[in-house]
């Protein structure tokens, strides 16, 4: 009877201690309490530890059974403690991180930020297209001779473009300051990038594919659609067999690359002294036809002025306005914004 009683007592003591400890673990309110519970119920001075120490007094069979019961209780408690610990850690993090919250809607922090001028960036975008077509970029002087700017480009001596109303002249650098009857000095701010055609032909042999970006000048008072200084990109392709069909194809793919593959284009006859046949390319944009560029087959006289035999070589050339393209890209209605250099404008782009 007593054996049986004693056996029962011995078998339930670990379970009792386990249940008591589980209760304590479950009711621990924070990690500190949990640590305390752990020490009290699983530590060296815990009931289970004390029970463990009494195992030696038992007979082998009893010892084995009770040993198993103690181990089972310990495992259960360790698991329960770990689970409760994870729970309490998560609770603690939640509270702590909530307290650390910041206002994520405050303005971002960036280094001081600059902007590149829209005209230059448009010019670079156009050059990307032309280099993609196999053109090499070349640049020439802005102060030019009237020979390069007019004579060599087949412009008649009396052409109105040569007048002071149209062209900005500069005084001669060699000190001879006397002017021709109505002003021209023979030295001018180039009115077009075309004089670089002559310089390019003089400095290299065909086949020649060059794109010439640059500033050009006209004697214009600034208004919404005119500036005395603006930008062009000149293209020149010369080989033995280039034709008007090559001109059309090249300019079509270039225009579509800039304005979109779906843009409607038309080539319209026009006049330039330095090309024959000549044309203008229009794009249908914002409900109307808009002039994009002037182009044509290089005039034989111009090929000859550049040192090429016009019976052997032929090619095409064009000049396109950069500023106007920049107006299209950025929806700008007034050219003067480009030269006012107002940071409110420049930094909006």
């Amino acid at each position: 009877m007593s054996h049986a009683e004693g056996g029962t007592t011995h078998a339930t003591e670990p379970d009792r201690l386990r249940d008591e400890a589980l209760q304590a673990i479950a009711s621990a309110r924070d990690l500190d309490e949990l640590d305390e519970v752990r020490t009290r119920h699983l530590g060296k001075r815990s009931g289970l530890a004390a029970l463990q120490r009494t195992l030696g007094q038992l007979d082998p069979d009893e010892r084995r059974k009770r040993g198993q019961a103690i181990n089972a209780a310990r495992t259960a408690l360790a698991e329960a403690e770990a689970a409760r610990r994870a729970q309490l850690e998560a609770q603690r993090d939640q509270v702590q991180l909530a307290a650390e919250a910041i206002d994520v809607t405050l303005p971002p922090r960036t280094p001081a930020r600059g902007r590149l001028h829209p005209v230059h960036e448009t010019m670079e975008a156009m050059l990307d297209v032309l280099t993609g077509l196999g053109y090499r970029v070349a640049e020439g002087p802005e102060v030019e001779t009237d020979w390069h700017n007019f004579d060599a480009l087949n412009t008649p001596p009396d052409h109105p473009a040569r007048s002071l109303q149209d062209t900005i002249y500069v005084h001669r650098l060699d000190g001879s300051t006397q002017l021709a009857e109505d002003g021209p000095t023979g030295v001018l701010l180039r009115t077009q990038t075309s004089p670089m055609r002559i310089r390019a032909m003089q400095s290299s042999q065909p086949p020649l594919y060059v794109a010439v970006p640059g500033r050009v000048y006209r004697s214009d008072t600034p208004d919404a659609t005119h500036l005395p200084m603006f930008h062009q990109i000149e293209g020149l392709a010369v080989d033995t067999d280039l034709s008007f069909a090559d001109l059309k194809g090249s300019l079509e793919v270039a225009a579509k690359a800039l304005l979109g593959e779906d843009v409607a284009l038309r080539f319209r006859p026009h006049f330039f002294p330095f090309t024959e046949p000549s044309c203008e390319l229009d794009a249908f944009y914002a409900g109307r036809w808009m002039e994009l560029l002037g182009a044509g087959m290089v005039h034989p006289n111009v090929l000859a002025a550049g040192g090429y035999d016009p019976d052997r070589y032929q090619g095409f050339a064009w000049g396109m306005g950069v500023d106007r393209m920049a107006m299209l890209r950025h929806d700008i209605a007034d050219l003067r914004l480009f030269i006012e250099n107002d940071l409110r404008f420049l930094q909006s782009l």
């Binding site: 196999g134 002071l164 001669r172 002017l179 021209p184 594919y209 026009h270 034989p300 107002d342």
Partner: protein
Amino acid sequence: MRVPLSWLTEYVDPGLSAEQLADVLTMGGLEVEAIERPTGGTRGVRVLEILDIAKIEGSDKLHLVHATDGDETWEVVAGASNFSAGDKVAGALPGAVLQGSFEVGRRKMFGHTSNGMLASARELGVGEDHSGIWVLDDNAPVGADVTELLDLDDPVLVLDVTPDRGYGLSLHGLARDISALTGAELRLPASQAPTGDPGVPVTIADPDRCRRFDARTIRGVSVRPSPAWLQRRLAAAGMRPVSGIVDATNAAMLETGNPIHAYDLALLTGPAIEVRVARAGERLTTLDGVERALSTDDLLICDAGGPIALAGVMGGEPTEINPSTSDVLLEVANFTPQTVLRTARRHGLHTEGSKRWERSVPPESAPLAATRCAQLITEVAGGSVVGGADHYPSPPARPVIRLRTQHARSRLGVDLDPSTQASLLERISCTVVPAGEDLDVTPPTYRPDLLVEADLHEEIVRVHGYARVPTRVPSSGQVGRRTPEHEARRAMRRMLAGGGWTEVMPFPFIADADIDALGLPDADRRRGTVPLVNPLSQEEAVLRTTLVPSLLRVLRHNVNRQRADVAVFEIGHVYLPPTEDDPGADGGPEQVTLPAEPQVLGLAACGAFEAARHDSPGRPADLHDLLGAVDLVRDAVGRAPVAVTPTDEAPYHPGRAARLALDGAELGTVGELHPRVAEAFEVPPRTLVGEVRLDALLDGGIRPRVAAVPSALPPIRFDVAVVVDEDVPAADVADAVSAGAGPALAECALFDVYRGPSVGEGRKSLAYRLRLEDPERQLTDADESAAIDGVAASVEARVGGMLRR
């Protein structure tokens, strides 16, 4: 050129709408810029005949008018009284609409009811005249609808005619092209040679400039306004109606392209005509009332008494058509483009006539112009043509152009056989004679612009249609690219923008006063500005030799607009007198001297470089931000840091400016503006500017970077603090530290500058963090001690400094 459609379709009518016809012209090289209806939208205006006019009691100006439309009599109050009983006028009766917007009603004035109104020319949009009621010509049918009678809804095509296509400034020329492009039948009037009495003798003293002179005499004209239909057409074409005779000369010019002048024959001395250049001292009062001193280069029409007209430009006042003119001498001449261009320019007289001469009028157009003008005069001013003579001493030979058809195919890229090429040219009235594979082409007289083979190529492809040319994209056979210098510049611009600098684009013009304001020394090369002949303004009178003045202007513009924080740059040309080392571009056959155009980086800043935020105060821009920009630029192209030395030159604060060099070559300067210079340019105090020549940095493009292989062995880090005299430049100290630390030095960075009692008066302490690395072996404490000893010895020897230990 403004072309009333109804006038044009008298000569060719392809049965197209105004819009369709505009498209044909535009795609044919005669660009139609706009289609206007300047007199459109008028409804319900009718021809009334005046019955009687009476002054209204109590009013200064108003008259009570009774007028009839043939059926009914209308009572109308009129403000003007420039008409009389029997005159035909335009009556806008109640319910009528003027020019599509103004609806006319009944009004009560001074006890009378005005049933609508009588219209002036301006109220109908026909002209500017608003001084009185528009009196129509006598044969206007009473009761007729004025809109129909005068074709007020007629569209006007506004053309932008290119300089080569002079024929585009005539209705006949346009009709020829429309016929060529559409195949519609051309109906041009025939010309008649003068008959009868040759009349006034004509001497052409300068047949090179005056190639033809057709003079016709008309007697018995009466000077009166031309009929309403002609006034309406001229006004629509942009010409002010004057009188029947003058209007007829203008109309005939618009039709044929040949300018015409009419003289009052009774006022001609002689009468005799001579065409010659002016003699020294001669003067002429032109039709605009200006007395002009003539140049001996001006071609004149003279009578026996002297000059009566500036040939091709403007007639003289003394012989002009006037109200009592009854006999007229018509001048239908031919002048070369250059003579008219020079005279027009010299006298600042650009007229409808000179515009046509400048684009070349063929001598062959004179007889038809004379025929048409004389006929119109007799129609609108009465009188009869009594004679005349056509002086055409030496008709020029017409050019024959050999067209190589294979060459044309090759240049145009269209497969057109010789006979197709021939027929395309024949459509614009060329005479074409086959010569084997090739063609001998004689252009029509109305196309003096067709001179060489290439001109014919354009005509072939134009008539064939530009749109019908196939497209082909040729291969250039090369890789396209920018020049290395261009790539380098682009890298610099991008780096600067990333570093907080905004690119600006001012005009490259400055004033010499700007150079003075900068205080540059007399010998400075930047004083060698190149003046413009025709500057836009005195503030922009010379080409810039420095970017600084225009950058300061940009800065001022922004500061004045409450943008106090500015950091801007420009990479652009300056224009300097050329030197042997710095030459200009090739000056062409005449070896003209051109300026050197080096690329320069300009910088300007004021206000905060780092803007204030809610969590940090702003930081004002200082010299080191500019030096930072220069460092970004050299880094962008893979160059070593530039050497910096202090400078006290203009235009800078003498203690806050630096001179920059790369590999011993001068690059430029940066610094704070001298306070007096800042005042002169009206920019804020402490404004910073800089200017760096880019040639040396751009040369050869972006340098490839050589990789630094990091050592796998751990580095040694330690700090040293060097005490030196206040005036020793930090760069010298850093050099001394670096040199002393030995070959294992991988990094040397200044992290603190200290002044205070512990380092002594007039001294400063610079603290550096050093890192030693050796990929070959493990560094030890002994290496660190040796490096520190080395630094100590080096700073003592080089900059007189000592280590704080």
